[in-house]
Symmetry: C2
Amino acid sequence: MSEVDLNAVREAHARIRERIHWTPVMTSARLDELAGAHLFFKCENFQETGSFKARGATNAVLSLTDAEASRGVATHSSGNHAAALSWAAGLRGVPAFVVMPSTASRIKIDAVERYGGRIVFCEPTHRAREEAADRVVRETGAVLIHPYNNPRIIAGQGTAALEFLGEHPDLDAIICPVGGGGLLAGTSIVAKGLRPGIRVLGAEPEGAADTKLSFESARRQQVDHPSSIADGLLAFVGDMTFPVIRRLVDSVAVVSDHDIAAAVRSFLEVMKIVVEPSGAVGYAAVAAKTAEVAGLRVGIILSGGNLDLERTPWLK
Amino acid sequence: MSEVDLNAVREAHARIRERIHWTPVMTSARLDELAGAHLFFKCENFQETGSFKARGATNAVLSLTDAEASRGVATHSSGNHAAALSWAAGLRGVPAFVVMPSTASRIKIDAVERYGGRIVFCEPTHRAREEAADRVVRETGAVLIHPYNNPRIIAGQGTAALEFLGEHPDLDAIICPVGGGGLLAGTSIVAKGLRPGIRVLGAEPEGAADTKLSFESARRQQVDHPSSIADGLLAFVGDMTFPVIRRLVDSVAVVSDHDIAAAVRSFLEVMKIVVEPSGAVGYAAVAAKTAEVAGLRVGIILSGGNLDLERTPWLK
């Protein structure tokens, strides 16, 4: 499998749809008023494991042959992808090995354990994680499932947009968060495939704006010491996702942590739903008007709801 | 209008249904597992103004004759009923006068102001509030709309159960919070009217367990200094609601503030929805097993979502 196209996303959806939630789309007259646009929120915070990552992980796990799957899957991501992969492996009855830094938060450890993932702790450096992951793969024969540089992951993440545009085919624009770029790549493939005139926007925190930098210079460029309360979006945009994003995405909006926190509060206070900071950047960009969508019908993917209540000093 | 019956609730629903939300019913495999029962959650936290109070208030306001409505409506409740009445009055284009103690929280004041209510501040005593309300009614000619001792309010609150049992006619039990008793009275009228064999349960905080005390002694009895984080449930069960509750409700469960806080956290962490403490007592009673519903199909009304993030030290 090489290039991901609309057909690959449709096949992914057929493969996973009985296992995942077809998440609801919510609206809010008050947020429309604040934003000056007509907003539709695709609630992936209600997805299995609390984020869209269940889509890609399920597609990747169910795509393996029996021989491949038999020894399990592995990852060295410790956030929502780790929980999702653990859960998806459980659906197939195979183990998931998750390499995590010894400094990982209790809530992330709990999530992986809840879904039956087997945690392999390592030193909290990038190098130690990769080495630990290599060792796990070598010793167990598990298949490493990268959180975004993987065509089946990208196709799986695109299924959220497939449901979204299936229900709301007349959106003028669609916006989603970008970290490693799996969701944005999948979303852009679906959106431009189904509706060539639609505007596709990515949104990322200003403390980790590598995609904006890369997009505008047409060259993948990393930023030093990425940092944000949107801790799911610190990854460097992938070498498999960036070419897709460059080709199909119209613009990348950047938002401050202050605006992200305000967006999380709006979801809690106005819409009565829990959206984690990484999941709220799309709306944050619209509300702060760094994404230019005034007057449009805008689809916003709320990508996750795993808010760590113990680490939200900015919430009050 | 004297006694509220199923027909009055049906008429109320016909009157208000275009103005309010037909709220969704959610489920959670994980909460089912924790509770040992099959749970269905009626999400009145997603209702207009953030609580079921919009139902009764809208029914009461729309039931007034033009002459009655012309001078507006009034209340001396300062919580969700005040916000709901302000909003409902706005639908009809008439003023709502809300008597509030000068010590009311910013979030309650904001909610009433957002919906266009006119606040009349008074000293923070029960007597001062009643006197201020009498004065407002005398001076403006507004109609006082009591938060629960009012047949149109009771009929309006019953519409939540009408939608709920319309969609899920095979529930074995239904449980909702009880403060003044408007929601529980309306719910019991609908539930026993549509499905005589169903079990109807009320749930209240142990720090304000006047309904349990009254129910078990078959006589309305107040408790001294009611207190709970479920601040919407401190009212004394009404003389109009209690006879209905005594006749139609099967039992009243009591829960600790500790269990209520745990329930609020479960909604945030597992279901990714915001439920205020008063709205969470039904599930809290089921999870803490003070409501005996093991193995049953249980309908739980999540009555509101107006969580004050600045007053939740117990959330972490």
